[in-house]
């Protein structure tokens, strides 16, 4: 008899796991877009700041 660890059992049943926890595995597109948008905007302002304030390699 093969003994599976919790991790191996979870990985073997990814589809079931995703079905049981949709709030983790199927985040609404709007929320994902908002998160990505905020991160991109923050990175853009960071790059703008580095350029504008004269940071150079």
């Amino acid at each position: 008899m093969t003994v599976l660890t919790l991790r191996e059992r979870a990985l073997a049943d990814r589809a079931g796991l995703a079905a049981r926890h949709p709030e983790v595995f199927r985040v609404p597109l709007r929320r994902r877009a908002l998160t990505v948008g905020v991160l991109v905007a923050m990175a853009a302002v960071l790059v703008l700041g580095l350029w504008r304030l004269g940071f150079s390699p």
């Binding site: 919790l6 923050m42 703008l48 700041g49 304030l53 004269g54 940071f55």
Partner: protein, 303 residues
């Protein structure tokens, strides 16, 4: 139903009442001693640092007259002798004659605060986990990182800015680095306190499922603390905007450079115009970040 309280016999009551009176006397004496010590320390500090109330009362008029001077035009307005002595509010275009230049400097100030906050928050985020009792067992590592963060937040940002001006020259870079280091120290401390108060059950769960230390932090710690981290970072951004406005005093860029120049050259109306711009900007930033923080805290409480 009427009830009656049992009354102690005098021979039992008297020693208890005496003991209570002694305890109250001791407590009052301790309070009075503490208040006396605080007052004595304040008086000694005032003597040692030459704080003289007489000077304050004698010259308080000059303090108010300075504000009087920054609120009216002087005779130096080019081609407008009619404005001399009139309130600055009557001619906003003359009062804010340097608005274009000051707006650019103000934007630079905001960028300095933003860069300082982001760099400080990222560094504080990376270091905070190493200072927590519940996630790190190695005492030497905790002590080392904690002392480093203490050093970073204990030295005022203006001192760091002065040091960096010597190293990197005049401009915004010293200001950004100074704010980043100070923010790293302050946020690292706040972040680590948040992490020390998390629920450890998710950490134990993912660790039992085979997660590494980094995976446990990513999947069990960060989701619990992220909204608090963002809230503290926004608060730090508010503080950094105010700090960035005076970074220019030591040559570290931003609108502070023009402000200190106007103060030194006695351009009173320029001082008031720049102060108004700084105050308005800080107010807007405070309002926006406060709303964001409350939204985040509200979301956290609802979850």
């Amino acid at each position: 139903m009427p009830t009656s309280l049992p009354r102690l016999e005098p021979h039992r009551l008297t020693p208890l009442a005496d003991a209570y009176a002694v305890a109250v006397r001791r407590k009052r004496l301790a309070t009075l001693t503490l208040v006396g010590a605080i007052i004595a320390a304040a008086i000694l500090s005032a003597i040692a640092t030459e704080v003289r109330p007489g000077v304050f009362t004698d010259r308080i008029d000059e303090f108010f007259s300075y504000f009087g001077r920054i609120a009216v035009f002087d005779a130096s307005v080019p081609n407008r002798p009619d404005l001399a002595g009139r309130p600055v509010l009557v001619e906003p275009s003359e009062w804010f004659w340097g608005l274009d230049k000051w707006s650019v400097l103000l934007a630079d100030t905001l960028l300095i605060a933003y860069l300082g906050t982001v760099l400080g928050a990222v560094s504080g985020f990376l270091l905070c986990f190493a200072t927590t009792h519940n996630l790190v067992r190695r005492t030497w590592l905790r002590v080392l990182v904690k002392r480093f963060l203490e050093f970073a937040r204990t030295v005022p940002e203006i001192v760091f800015a002065l040091i960096f001006v010597v190293a990197f020259g005049l401009g915004p870079i010293p200001g950004v680095l100074a704010l980043a280091i100070h923010s790293m120290g302050a946020l690292g401390k706040q972040f680590s306190e948040v992490v020390e108060n998390i629920d450890m059950k998710p950490v134990e769960g993912v660790t039992a499922a085979g997660a590494t230390w980094a995976e446990a932090v990513r999947f069990a710690v960060v989701p619990q603390v992220l909204s608090n981290f963002v809230s503290y970072t926004l608060l730090r951004f508010e503080i950094n905007v105010r700090s960035a406005a005076v970074m220019g005093f030591v040559g570290a860029g931003g609108i502070g450079q023009d402000l200190v120049e106007a103060i030194r050259k006695f351009y009173y109306t320029d001082v008031s115009a720049i102060l108004v711009l700084i105050i308005l900007t800080v107010m807007v930033i405070d309002l926006v970040t406060e709303r964001l923080r409350h939204a985040l805290i509200g979301r956290e409480e609802r979850a």
